[in-house]
């Protein structure tokens, strides 16, 4: 029984995550850069990139 509850919870968690995930066709939420390197001069938020094709990649150094 506990196992089933755990599986259900895991499935529910997956659903919750995928429901929130930003998907194709949606508008990419704007965000202000807290700091930036190598970005075009005067660009300090995502919306400054309108008119370009942008790859937003969430990455980590670890």
């Amino acid at each position: 029984m506990i196992k089933h509850v755990a599986v259900l919870a895991a499935v529910a968690a997956l659903f919750a995550a995928s429901a929130q995930a930003l998907g194709v066709g949606e508008t990419a939420p704007n965000f202000k850069f807290e700091k930036s390197w190598n970005t075009p001069e005067g660009f300090d938020e995502l919306d400054d990139y309108r008119g370009k094709l942008v790859l937003v990649e969430a990455w980590a150094t670890w």
């Binding site: 995930a21 066709g25 965000f31 850069f33 937003v56 990455w59 980590a60």
Partner: protein, 254 residues
């Protein structure tokens, strides 16, 4: 991240921009950007995971010129060249992609061959000689395509800011694409003059010296590494590489 470097090199003159977002602290990210001499855009935003509903690292989104998501997933290296080409076509078209009046055929042919400057000149001439509205409309259409390329190159040139070496490189690339037009000549002249300037020579020499030292840093005693970096920083206080050397030297202070 070698694939990000590759994408940046391949598509940067076509209205493509990379925004690599980290939620880490600046002192974790900055050494990474500097030590690996990363050229693409790196930014910090601590709420990215929540705002974008992150499912693991790395996650990526391709965003079109209107801000809409075209692709979402974890492995951007799985996107094919054909997919990139189709997306880039919206930003900086490589082909005219439709029939045009016979007066515009030479311009369209030049454009399709990647000779954007030549296409611009031919379209201008055709527009000036045109009496027919349809011919004028086709000339406008081709000039519109040319304009997208101009904006992409101008953006690249502006982005280089005070980095004279990067700026000269962007000007060379822009001048080659716009060869045969007034703008191409203007960019070519700017590149030539920039390369003659002290600013450029210092920028180029300091970048070379820093590259040489960077390769040896790990095998050097920290005190020697610091001295080598400080020497560059002192000799070229105003160049990007000089400033970078000063920053790097701080890491070898203790």
């Amino acid at each position: 991240m070698p694939h990000l470097k590759e994408l940046n090199t391949k598509y940067r003159d076509r209205g493509f921009e990379l925004v690599a977002v980290s939620a880490e602290k600046s002192d974790k990210v900055e050494p990474f950007v500097k030590d690996k001499a990363i050229e693409y855009g790196v930014v910090l935003y601590s709420n990215i995971a929540k705002d974008y509903g992150l499912k693991g690292w790395p996650s990526a989104w391709v965003v079109d010129p209107e801000g809409k998501v075209l692709w979402a997933g974890n492995f951007i290296d799985r996107v094919t060249d054909a997919e990139w080409e189709a997306w880039l076509e919206q930003v900086t078209p490589g082909k005219v992609g439709r029939e045009v009046a016979k007066e515009l055929k030479p311009a369209a042919k030049a454009f399709d061959a990647g000779e954007v400057g030549k296409a611009q000149k031919l379209a201008e001439e055709a527009a000036a000689a045109a009496t027919d509205d349809l011919v004028k409309a086709d000339a406008d259409f081709i000039q519109g395509l040319v304009e997208k390329h101009r904006v992409a190159h101008q953006g690249k040139i502006d982005k280089a800011g005070s980095d004279a070496v990067a700026k000269a490189k962007a000007l060379d690339e822009a001048a080659a694409k716009f060869k045969g037009s007034e703008l191409g000549t203007k960019w070519e002249t700017e590149a030539k003059e920039l390369k003659k300037s002290k600013e450029y020579k210092d920028c180029s020499a300091s970048a070379d010296e820093l590259e040489k030292v960077r390769g040896k840093l790990e095998d050097m005693k920290p005190s020697n590494a610091r001295k080598a970096l400080e020497k560059i920083a002192k000799k070229y206080p105003e160049t990007p590489a000089g400033k970078e050397a000063a920053e790097l030297a701080k890491k070898y202070e203790e």
